[in-house]
Amino acid sequence: MIEFTTWDILRNLLLAARWTVLLSLVSFIGGGLLGLALLFGRISPRRWLSKATGSYIELFQGTPLLMQMFLAFFGLGLFGVDVPARLAAGLALILWSAAFLTEIWRGCVESIARGQWEASASLGMGRLQQMRYVILPQALKIAIPPTVGFSVQVIKGTALTSIIGFVELSKAGTVVTNATFQPFTVYGFVALIYFALCWPLSKSSQILERKLNVAHRNH
């Protein structure tokens, strides 16, 4: 039997962690772009559009991420589309992140005083101009802490993709355990690596929140 040193274990896990980071980035950025588009729909004065985006959000917030991944993975397979695990994983995570980010950002936009909309409207700005130059710059500052906080959820969410066979940090943990029979050591390292990824983010989210609360200045 081959002997595994601690370094072997750690090295394999770190190599797999790259996929966790990459998948997280793709999901977060993709989800953010889609979320921004959905945000405009969600706060649109057109009833049907805001209803439609509202339903989308409820659907993705109201079902487990794991089910969404299964559906992306097996569901598309039913139509004869052969979906690689990483595509299904990325797709499900993007759609899921978008739903949550839209809802976070909608709250931030709605916290901007109505007078800001009215003043900019009375100066002749159209809706997109109001958003672009008046509302979003203010909402953005409020949105930063919860958005950074949500990125932690995305990283942890990527662990679920191991179930549909995408080899990231969690899946690598299982594989390495099967080879080494040292589950405690292996999963201990896995947990530490997740912590090293998530903790700085949640910490900075807290610090940002405190900073923005202390700073009464809005600029």
Binding site: A119, S122, L123, G124, Q129, Y133, H216, N218
Partner: protein, 244 residues
């Protein structure tokens, strides 16, 4: 043709009819004070004139531009009438100068240098040239309101709507804002202002509109309205405010 023509305007919020057929024609250069009890529909009327509320009936036109719901017509109308709010509503993320420049650049596509020159002129006009780089939260209420006036003026409107623009101010700051308005009136700007400053209305306005329960209850030059009220409602209102 009058500058602002308000004809049989009605406005309901649900079952609550707030404006019950308002008729009012405003000539260029007129300064109109709108007075009346809380809830009589004064703010609603001003908000209808620049399309912040959609009217339920009647029509409004400003210098020939008809009020309509689509964005193109609304924008055309809003370029003609500016609005000043009780709560100033400056953009907190921009400096005073930035506040005055933004809509010129975004709405009228004025080049930046030109917008800045205009902003400096307008801030100068309200006595705040030295506050160009100050953010709203570094300014007093009176200064913020004057920046808001400069911001509206920079769009070169032909009329200004003012909704209780001194009501949120500490008493000692009221006069600096009123002085600016007085000057605008003297320069011939058409003004429609909801106000509780009866003395100001008496001194500056060409006509006073007394609103009561969603109607224009009395209207006339300030001498007549204040000295010789025709209806018990107006007498009671003036008695209440101590200016009978």
């Amino acid at each position: 043709m009058s500058l602002i023509e308000i004809t049989e305007v009605r406005k309901s919020f649900g079952a609550n009819e707030v404006l019950k057929g308002i008729n009012l024609d405003v000539e260029p250069g007129e300064v109109i004070a709108i007075i009346g009890k809380s809830g009589s529909g004064k703010s609603t009327l001003l908000r209808c004139i620049n399309g912040l509320e959609t009217i339920s009936g009647g029509s409004i036109s400003v210098a020939g531009a008809q009020l309509a719901e689509d964005e193109v017509h609304l924008k055309a109308l809003r370029l003609k009438v500016g609005m000043i709010f009780q709560q100033f509503n400056l953009f907190p993320h921009l400096t005073a100068g930035g506040n005055v420049m933004l809509s010129q650049m975004v709405v009228k596509k004025v080049p930046k240098a030109q917008a800045e020159a205009m902003a400096r002129r307008m801030l100068e006009r309200v006595g705040l040239a030295h506050k160009f780089d100050a953010y709203p939260d570094e300014l007093s209420g009176g200064q913020q309101q004057r920046v808001a006036i400069a911001r509206a003026l920079a769009m070169q409107p032909i009329a200004l709507l003012c909704d209780e623009i001194t009501s949120a101010l500490d008493p000692e700051l009221v006069s600096e804002v009123l002085a600016v308005v007085r000057e605008l009136a003297a320069e011939g700007m058409t003004l429609l202002m909801v106000t509780h400053e009866m003395k100001f209305a008496r001194d500056v306005c060409s006509r006073v509109v007394f609103m009561h329960q969603g109607r224009v209850h009395e209207i006339g030059p300030p001498e007549d309205v204040f000295a010789n009220p025709q209806t018990p409602e107006l007498r009671q209102f003036l008695g209440m405010t101590g200016h009978a």
